[in-house]
Subunit: 296 residues, 2 copies
DNA sequence: CTAAAGAATAGATAAAAATCTATTGTTTGT
DNA sequence: ACAAACAATAGATTTTTATCTATTCTTTAG
């Protein structure tokens, strides 16, 4: 396959106009230039593509086959260029997003709004715990990662983009439900229900207690936020979790946010990516979208 | 679209191996050579196709799109080369054949045998009268043309390849049906039914009579051989036609070949093409097939 | 922290490709 | 028979391209 795209293009023009001279005009070349290109293509392919009988040019069988393939090929490449342009212009593209479980109540709504704004863009959302996410981050599997605290052992660019208040939650009929300004010490005495080790919420909770020299009793360790809420609703104890997680429950539900001293703990949501990674236009746009939301 | 097929090929190798160095080995090039090719492709396309994070190479979205198109394109061109090779090897191809109406009873059988021998080859058979055929010949519409006498005003290569005996036919109960050695003069006195002017049979008949100084009465002038036979069968007169035309009727039918002095007139079938035309491999093969048949 | 491996860049050079002008062939219509 | 129109060839020239060697940069594994 010793021929060039240029030769295919020139040949296509000649085949369409059935004239070297007219093709030359169209391509802003001289007639010999066009002739040579076609000739070389013929030599590469090992057989004539055009034949002249008298003044008239005709395509040979091989010429017809070649013309068809030339069109196919040139069109495919043109379509590629359009797709790439679209990719850059946010008209098309894919966003691979990975988030910690806790962010499940915050991100999907934002992502929905984003996709509505850019209808050509498909999104893949992976939900996992912090540990899994960090290893995905290191493996460059996702465009962007959302978590409750910046990674520590990976070199990333992490930007806070939303508040992530951490609150203590109890069932509505819990003895502390109507107390005011509860001391953290008091909470540490209660049965606590928390996410598994390796989760961001667990990390944050442990850090909070440690800062006050406390070591709470973790009665239950559960693998999902929903499970934790169910356990609290079942009266098994208190929990510390992201206020966003309660969004759907509202005032009316079984659960109550306790008024604990020093809470809500003002944490932030972070969006992160590997330092040096070249963000796709789509990822860039979603990042901007998140940061713009911060100002709302 | 300023990039080359070579760049696509190199890029495909790099994308597959996810390594410039290994791609370079595979392509028997140096690593910088490979690197520059991909770099230039990226520049042509206006965005990076590969990104490096640490030691690992990754395809970008644009890279994935480009790789898909590169495969599509390179495969299409490879298939083209195979098709062209087949074309030359008689494994595939098209034969455009045009024949005079009179040859309708001879050629299709030959063409059938030919197509059976070369199963990949499709044939188009056009049946027309001599006049139409000559203009098609001049316009280079068909690969080969079969007629009862070589064209006179067109520069062609015409080769005889089969006998084409011309006979006088009457209905079985015609007064002359059982006569022997009938004089041509006698025939000229009968009502004659002939094909239209411009047809080969008509031309041959007129020439035959003219050679003997005769001017026969053409009572009926019909547009097809079938019509002529029907008219003869209807008892409307005699006709002069190619013996092949009677092949299907045989001895059992209504029609009889008269024993006329100097007949059957030994004419020939000719296959012709424009001088200088480059015959396709298929046409060449069919020509050989016809000429080989002559010796059987 | 160092060595190894691979990627990226620079600069030089050799090869090839594309194009041009000029000219010659060939066919057709007048 | 001639002119016009187009195709085909020749030869020269210019530009582009592909490639190489040498080197530097970057990351990772030990």
């Amino acid at each position: 396959m010793r021929f060039s795209l240029h030769q295919l293009r020139v040949f296509a023009a000649v085949a369409r106009l059935l004239s070297y001279t007219r093709a030359a005009e169209e391509l802003h070349l001289t007639q010999p230039a066009v002739f040579t290109q076609v000739k070389q293509l013929e030599e590469s392919l090992g057989q004539p593509l055009l034949e002249r009988l008298g003044k008239q040019l005709f395509l040979t069988d091989a010429g017809r086959e070649t013309l068809a393939t030339a069109h196919e090929t040139l069109n495919a490449l043109e379509r590629l260029e359009m797709r790439l342009a679209d990719l850059q212009g946010l008209k098309r593209g894919r966003l691979r997003l990975a988030i910690v479980t806790t962010a499940e109540s915050l991100i999907p709504r934002l992502l929905g709004a984003f996709c509505q704004q850019y209808p050509g863009i498909d999104a893949t959302l992976t939900v996992a715990n912090r540990e899994t996410l960090l290893s995905r981050l290191a493996d460059n599997i996702d465009d962007l990662v959302v978590l409750g605290a910046p990674p520590e052992h990976i070199d990333v660019v992490a930007t806070a983009f939303a508040d992530n208040p951490l609150v203590v939650v109890a069932r509505h009929d819990h003895p502390l439900a109507n107390s005011r300004a509860i001391a953290l010490t008091r909470i540490a005495e209660e049965s606590l229900i928390l996410r598994e080790a390796g989760s961001g919420t667990r990390l944050a909770a442990e850090r909070l207690f440690a800062e006050h020299g406390l070591e709470p009793r973790v009665r239950l360790e559960l693998g999902s936020n929903e499970a934790v809420k169910q356990a609290v609703a079942g009266g098994l104890g208190l929990t510390l979790l992201s206020a966003h997680t309660l969004a759907l429950e509202g005032e009316s539900g079984l659960l109550r946010v306790l008024d604990v001293e020093g809470l809500p703990l003002l944490r932030q949501w972070y969006v992160a990516y590997l330092r040096g990674k070249h963000l796709s236009v789509v990822a860039e746009a979603f990042l901007d979208f998140l940061l713009a939301g911060q100002r709302r």
